[in-house]
C-alpha cells in the first residue's frame, strides 16, 4: 500500500496556498500562487501533478472549489486554528492577518475554537493596509518590517481609514518627516487595531501569528510589547490555513 497523502488548499483573496501532508500529518509539500482573476484556474494549475487521496478547501474561494472539485470545505477560522495548533500545540490565541481581513481566534485547551472575531469590512488592520502604505513610502513590502525596526521615533498616523491614511502619509512625506518614523507610525496603527481585537477575544497566553503579515518582524515586536505576551511566528506562517485543511482532510473518513 502506497503512502496516503492529504491536501489542503486555502483560496484567499490575494494568494492560494496548497499543503500536502502524509498519513502521519507531516508536511510533504507546500506550494503557493497569486489568486489572480480566476481563482479556479489558478487552483487547477497549482494542483497539476500533485498527488493526494483527499483534499479539503478553505478560504473565501472554498465554495467555488467545493462545486468545481466536489471537495469538502472548512472555514478559515477552524483551518487556521488547526494549523496554528499543529505549529504550536499549546496555543490558546491565534492571530491571522491576511490580504483583506484579519481574525483573532481563542482556543480551549483541547484546541477547539472557543470564540473568534473577524474584521473583513475595512482594510485597516489588514495586509492590504500595510501594502498600500509600503508602496506610498517607497518600500518593498518584504523589507518594510525589517527596515522599520531601525526607526528611532514614531510619527503618529491618526487616520484609521486606508484612503485617509494614505493622504496623511503623503503629506507627512511632503513635510519632510523621516520615512522610517512614518513607517513606524503605520505599523503602530495596524498594531493598535489588532491588539484591541486580541484583548477582547483572546486575552490568554502566547499569540500564534499566522498569515503572510506574520513575517513582519516590526509588527510582531510592537504587538508583543503592547500586550506583554509572546508573539510566535511559525516558519510557514502563510500556510497555516492550508495545513489546517489538509490535517482535517486526513481526519475525515
Amino acid at each position: 500500500m502506497g503512502m496516503r497523502r492529504f491536501a489542503g488548499i486555502d483560496i484567499g483573496s490575494r494568494t492560494i496556498e496548497l499543503v500536502v501532508v502524509d498519513g502521519a500529518g507531516q508536511v510533504v509539500q507546500s506550494l503557493k500562487a497569486d489568486t489572480g482573476f480566476d481563482p479556479l484556474a489558478e487552483a487547477r494549475r497549482l494542483l497539476d501533478g500533485v498527488a493526494y487521496d483527499r483534499i479539503m478547501a478553505t478560504g473565501y474561494g472554498r465554495n467555488l472549489f467545493e462545486i468545481a472539485f466536489e471537495a469538502p470545505t472548512v472555514t478559515e477560522i477552524k483551518a487556521h486554528a488547526l494549523g496554528a495548533r499543529a505549529f504550536f500545540p499549546q496555543a490558546l490565541s491565534v492571530l491571522d492577518i491576511g490580504g483583506q481581513d484579519s481574525k483573532v481566534i481563542a482556543l480551549f485547551d483541547t484546541g477547539k475554537v472557543k470564540k473568534f472575531e473577524m474584521n473583513d469590512r475595512c482594510a485597516a488592520g489588514t495586509g492590504k493596509f500595510l501594502e498600500i502604505m509600503a508602496r506610498t513610502l517607497g518600500y518593498d513590502i518584504a523589507a518594510f518590517g525589517d527596515d522599520t525596526l531601525l526607526a528611532e521615533q514614531e510619527t503618529t498616523i491618526s487616520s484609521m481609514c486606508t484612503v485617509f491614511a494614505e493622504s496623511e502619509v503623503t503629506s507627512l512625506i511632503a513635510k519632510g518627516q523621516s520615512r522610517r518614523s512614518i513607517a513606524l507610525g503605520v505599523h503602530a496603527s495596524v498594531m493598535r487595531r489588532v491588539a484591541a481585537m486580541i484583548q477582547r477575544v483572546a486575552p490568554e497566553g502566547d499569540i500564534v501569528f499566522t498569515g503572510g503579515v506574520a513575517n513582519n518582524g516590526c509588527l510582531r515586536a510592537l504587538l508583543s510589547q503592547k500586550l506583554g505576551r509572546g508573539v510566535l511566528c511559525p516558519a510557514q506562517a502563510q500556510f497555516a490555513g492550508a495545513l489546517g485543511a489538509a490535517l482535517l482532510a486526513r481526519e475525515t473518513v
Binding site: 473565501y60 472555514t75 477560522i77 477552524k78 473568534f116 473583513d120
Partner: protein, 426 residues
C-alpha cells in the same frame, strides 16, 4: 397576475411599475429561499398561498372590509395593541419594512446611518409600493428608539393620517402610568376613527381573538423544542411574520392545523433537518417580511433555528392578555399589564430581556445564540455586548452579527456563521 388586482393597485395609488419590481423580487426570493427547502410540513402550503396573495387577495379582503365600514390601522411596532383596534371595529396590520426600496429617495430625507428598518418603511412609502400602507386609515407610529421617534416627524409630512403614540422608557410606576394614559388616548382615537365605542363585550371578544392567535403561535413555538426540529426556522419565522397581516381567525386555524401535523412528525421522529443538527437561537432586532437573509444563511450552513427572541417572534407574541376582566377599565388594565412586559431594548434598564434569552436558550435546547443587530440600531447593538458576555459566562456560545438588508456581506456572514456552527460542533 389578474388584471383586477392591477386596477385595484392603481386605484390605491400604487406605482405599478415599481410595484411590479417589488413583487418580482419578492416572488423570486420566496422561491429560492422558501420553496427550495426540503421536508417542509404540508401545512406550510397555507403560508405559500398567503405569500403569493400578500398584495392580492389579502388586500382585496381589507378593501372589502373597508367598504363594509371597517377601518384599517397600520402599525410599526408590537406596542400597538391589536385588542383595542379590533374592539373598535378596526383591523390592525403590521407595516412591513424588511426590504430596501427607493434608497436614493430615502436618503434625501434620512441620514445614511439610519437603520434598515426605518429606511425601508420610508422606501415603501416613497416608492408607493405598499398596499397595506396605502389602504390604512390610520398609521400608528410610536416613540421608541431615537431613530423612529425622529423619523416619524418626517413621515408625518408624507402621510396624512399619522398618529404617534408615546411610550415609556423605564419600567417604573410612572412608566406604567404613561403607557396606560397612552392606551386610553389610542382607544379614543380609534373610536373617533371608526365611530364605534368600545364596550366590555367587544373588548372581551377582541382580547379572546388575539389571545387565540397568540396561543396558536405559542403551540407552534413549543413544538420547536423537539429534536429533530419539526419545522425550519425559516418557516417558523414566516408564521411569525404573517401573524401581523392575516385575518386573525384564519391565521389561528391554519397555525393550529400545522401544529397537528408537527405533532405527528414529532411522534414519528421526523424533522425538517436531521436529529442532532446544531440548534441556534436568534436574538435581537425584528426581522420583517421579506427579510429572510439571516435564517437563510444559517439554515444553509448546517444549523437549524429553533427560536427567535425578537418582536417578530417570542418577544412580540409571548404573554397573553388576561381575560378575567369584566369592565372596560379592568380589561384596559389587563392590556396595559400585558404590553408593559415587552422587553424591547428601548427600555432602560432591560434585564428582563437577558433573562428571557437565557430562558429561551435553555427551553429550546439551543447550542448557541446569534445576536442579530441591524447596523445603526443603537439599542440592540448596545445590548448585544452585555448579552454576549453574560451568555459566555454561562458557556453558551454567542455570535454577534451586525448587518443590513443588502446581500453585499452575504459571503462574509456565511463564513462567520459556518465558523460558528463548526465551533458549536466542537
Amino acid at each position: 397576475m389578474s388584471d383586477a388586482y392591477r386596477s385595484m393597485w392603481a386605484e390605491m395609488g400604487l406605482n405599478l411599475e415599481a410595484h411590479d419590481v417589488l413583487l418580482g423580487v419578492l416572488g423570486n426570493s420566496y422561491k429560492e429561499i422558501y420553496l427550495a427547502q426540503k421536508e417542509r410540513p404540508e401545512g406550510m402550503g397555507y403560508f405559500d398561498f398567503v405569500m403569493s396573495e400578500v398584495h392580492g387577495l389579502r388586500i382585496k379582503e381589507l378593501l372589502d372590509e373597508k367598504a363594509a365600514g371597517r377601518k384599517i390601522v397600520g402599525a410599526y411596532c408590537v406596542f400597538v395593541p391589536e385588542e383595542i383596534a379590533l374592539a373598535a371595529n378596526a383591523t390592525l396590520v403590521g407595516l412591513c419594512s424588511g426590504a430596501d426600496f427607493a434608497v436614493e429617495e430615502v436618503e434625501k430625507l434620512l441620514p445614511r446611518n439610519t437603520c434598515a428598518l426605518i429606511k425601508s418603511a420610508f422606501g415603501f412609502k416613497l416608492g408607493k409600493v405598499c398596499p397595506y400602507l396605502e389602504s390604512a386609515d390610520m398609521i400608528v407610529g410610536e416613540n421608541t428608539c431615537d431613530g423612529k421617534k425622529k423619523a416619524y416627524e418626517t413621515l408625518g409630512h408624507l402621510v396624512k393620517n399619522l398618529y404617534v403614540m408615546d411610550l415609556p422608557q423605564v419600567k417604573s410606576e410612572n412608566g406604567r402610568a404613561v403607557l396606560q394614559a397612552e392606551y386610553f388616548r389610542f382607544k379614543a382615537a380609534v373610536e373617533a376613527l371608526t365611530g364605534v365605542t368600545i364596550t366590555a363585550e367587544s373588548l372581551k371578544t377582541a382580547i379572546q381573538t388575539v389571545n387565540a392567535k397568540r396561543k396558536a403561535i405559542h403551540r407552534l413555538l413549543a413544538l420547536r423544542k423537539a429534536d429533530p426540529a419539526p419545522i425550519s426556522g425559516l418557516d417558523a419565522l414566516l408564521a411569525n411574520q404573517v401573524f401581523f397581516y392575516d385575518n386573525p381567525a384564519r391565521f389561528t386555524a391554519s397555525v393550529n392545523k400545522i401544529c397537528d401535523e408537527l405533532e405527528k412528525r414529532i411522534a414519528e421522529k421526523k424533522g425538517a433537518f436531521p436529529a442532532k443538527t446544531p440548534r441556534i437561537l436568534i436574538s435581537g432586532c425584528p426581522q420583517a417580511v421579506p427579510n429572510w437573509k439571516l435564517p437563510f444563511i444559517v439554515e444553509s450552513s448546517g444549523a437549524v433555528i429553533v427560536g427567535e427572541e425578537s418582536c417578530v417572534g417570542e418577544r412580540g407574541t409571548r404573554n397573553l392578555t388576561s381575560e378575567s376582566g369584566q369592565t372596560v377599565e379592568e380589561m384596559m388594565a389587563a392590556i396595559v399589564e400585558r404590553y408593559f412586559q415587552v422587553d424591547c431594548a428601548i427600555f432602560t434598564p432591560n434585564a428582563e430581556r437577558l433573562a428571557h434569552i437565557e430562558e429561551m436558550a435553555a427551553d429550546y435546547k439551543a447550542d448557541g445564540v446569534i445576536h442579530y443587530g441591524l447596523q445603526f440600531c443603537q439599542p440592540y447593538l448596545m445590548e448585544s455586548i452585555p448579552v454576549e458576555k453574560a451568555l459566555e459566562e454561562k458557556n453558551i456560545p454567542c455570535l454577534r452579527i451586525e448587518t443590513d438588508y443588502s446581500m453585499e456581506d452575504a459571503g462574509q456572514l456565511k463564513t462567520r456563521i459556518e465558523a460558528f456552527v463548526e465551533q458549536i460542533k466542537g
